[in-house]
């Protein structure tokens, strides 16, 4: 029973069937949970297991919506992933548990349009000032070739 199976076994006992599926690689554990228990799992890991370090939050547009994945832990990162519908992408924010999560959530909000409820200031973080509000570059629908008309020089 390597370290990975052990940690996954603990998660399985606590959350039982709410863990939809999992994947174990060398020194890595991926756990898929429905979007409402995403915050609960992270609270469990942070408060009870004392994991303090959040690597980052990755946002990817998959077939059935937008997949949010939080990677926690220093020695052996545990990745908790959940999918959110792309029409109305809402998810609970984890800023109060881990203050460092604020920038990652704001970046995903900019690039993919996911709204994190509870994030203290969900303002624009990475896109330039005059970028239109509703265009999210990391979406597959956004073609980077015909991008927004860049203002021509020497005006």
């Amino acid at each position: 029973m390597s370290v990975e199976e052990e940690t996954f076994r603990e998660l399985k006992d606590v959350f039982g069937d709410r863990i939809l599926d999992f994947k174990i690689q060398k020194m890595r554990v991926y756990v898929k949970v429905p979007s409402d228990t995403y915050r609960e799992v992270i609270r469990y890991l942070v408060l009870l297991k004392g994991i303090y370090h959040l690597e980052t939050i990755t946002g990817t547009e998959v077939k059935d919506g937008i997949e949010i994945m939080a990677h926690l832990g220093t020695g052996m990162p545990i990745s908790i992933r959940t999918t959110v519908s792309s029409e109305d992408p809402r998810i609970a924010s984890i800023c109060d548990l881990i203050p460092g999560a604020e920038f990652y959530e704001r970046e995903i909000h900019d690039l993919l349009g996911v709204v994190f409820e509870g994030n203290p200031n969900l303002k624009r973080f990475i896109l330039s000032g005059d970028w239109p509000e509703d265009v999210h570059p990391l979406k597959k629908s956004f073609e980077s070739k015909h991008n927004l008309p860049l203002r021509e020089g020497f005006d």
Partner: protein, 395 residues
């Protein structure tokens, strides 16, 4: 009171790593900070999705010009996880050598720029002169001074002949002797100590809460180094000790980075002594098998994170890169907000900002919001630095 706005662009004689900080101010002390990093956004992740894995390496190396060996290494390790093929040991050792060399050049560069920042030009000239020896070695090993692209998917680009190994060992002696001199200068030089002790304080709890990484975390006494916790490349068999310092301020960060230089030198020496024989590269097919991979590397500025999701095609479905300085932004905010006894004067902003050795974007302006009086004004970083000297900070 008219607002006090300086529309000055990101021009700066020293190497500015500009960042728009929005400081919330109560009178003299800073209570809140917000950041705007939009000036540097080049849309790299979108570009990576349009390139195949092999084409992506040059782009990934150019995310950050100073610590690009770390980016290249993290990218290749990440993609190799998709192939799950055995990478020759010699390649892992050579990767470690070039990664540590680029850490030496990055830390020496930071020591010089920090001295340049406080007007100590002679130290800037000396540190950068000695850094040239390291750059020559990087150039003769990898072919280019900075964007080396030494680690390829499947191994390394070139082998290291024995005469290069001897030259590298000789350079290491020079670097070691010079670093000891600079550590002595940093410790004994009164002006440096006077300007950095007690400034930019980051308690260990705050460092953990804001997910700080790298020297900033280790300078607050937290023992956390990816090379030790989750060893990659050849770090498992090359012993080194993690440097920590417990005074949690800008001075500690100088000491941590200086002593890390000595660790790099000893690591390179042990790696070169036990350099295994055998091939230095393995041919890998263009299409990796589907799956996802997550890799972390200890870049000079902190823990670098790469994640990729591949659907079996030549191009990545999604490639995520998180640079260490983005993680340290939270720590910078904790440093700059005053709590109870520890009061942050607006004057400490530039020095602590420089101490996380930022490397992201382009505008050094600070946007003040005086919550009590409801006034707001914008000052550039240099403005604050200067006003802090003069002690008079409110318009």
């Amino acid at each position: 009171m008219s607002t006090f706005d300086i529309p000055i662009g990101p021009m700066h004689p020293a190497l500015p790593e500009p960042l728009l900080l929005k400081l919330e101010v109560e009178g003299e002390t800073v209570v809140g900070v917000d950041f705007d990093v939009s000036y540097m956004h080049r849309g790299i992740e979108k570009l990576l999705e349009a390139k195949t894995y092999f084409q992506g390496l040059p782009l990934v190396e150019r995310i950050c010009g100073i610590c690009n060996a770390a980016h290249g290494l993290c990218y290749t390790l990440n993609v190799e996880k998709l192939y799950d093929k055995e990478i020759p040991a010699r390649a892992q050792y050579l990767r470690l050598v070039v990664e540590e060399l680029s850490r030496i050049h990055s830390h020496l560069l930071w020591l010089g720029v920090a001295a340049f920042e406080i007007g100590f030009n002679t130290m800037f000239m000396y540190t950068w002169r000695d850094r040239e020896a390291v750059m020559d070695m990087l150039e003769s090993i990898t072919g280019n001074r900075i964007t080396t692209e030494y680690s390829q998917i499947g191994g390394v680009r070139r082998d290291m002949p024995s005469n290069l190994v001897d030259r590298l060992l000789k350079t290491m002696d020079v670097v070691e002797e010079r670093t000891k001199y600079y550590t002595k200068v940093a410790l004994t030089e009164r002006t440096i100590a006077k300007r950095t002790q007690g400034v930019g304080y980051l308690s260990p709890e705050e460092a953990k809460a804001t997910c700080a990484v790298g020297p900033v975390l280790r300078a607050s006494g937290v023992k956390n180094d990816i090379r030790a916790d989750d060893p990659y490349a050849a770090h498992a068999d090359v012993p080194f000790n993690v440097i920590t310092y417990d005074s949690c301020d800008v001075f500690a960060r100088i000491i941590v980075r200086a002593q890390e230089l000595l660790e790099c030198v000893s690591m390179i020496r042990t790696a070169l002594r036990h350099l295994p024989e055998g091939p230095f590269r393995v041919k890998l097919p263009m299409k990796p098998n589907a799956g996802e991979a997550l890799t972390r590397v200890e870049a000079p500025r902190g823990e670098l994170f790469h994640y990729t999701l591949s659907d079996g095609g030549m191009k990545p479905y999604r490639y995520k890169v998180r640079t260490p300085t983005l993680a340290n932004l939270g720590a910078l905010r904790a440093m700059l907000t005053s709590k109870g006894r520890y009061v942050v004067n607006i004057g400490d902003v530039p020095i602590s900002y420089g101490s996380i050795d930022p490397c992201i974007c382009c505008t050094a302006r600070v946007y003040f919001v005086d919550s009590r009086k409801g006034r707001s004004w914008v000052w550039t970083l240099d403005e604050i630095r200067e006003r802090s000297r003069r002690g008079e900070l409110l318009p």
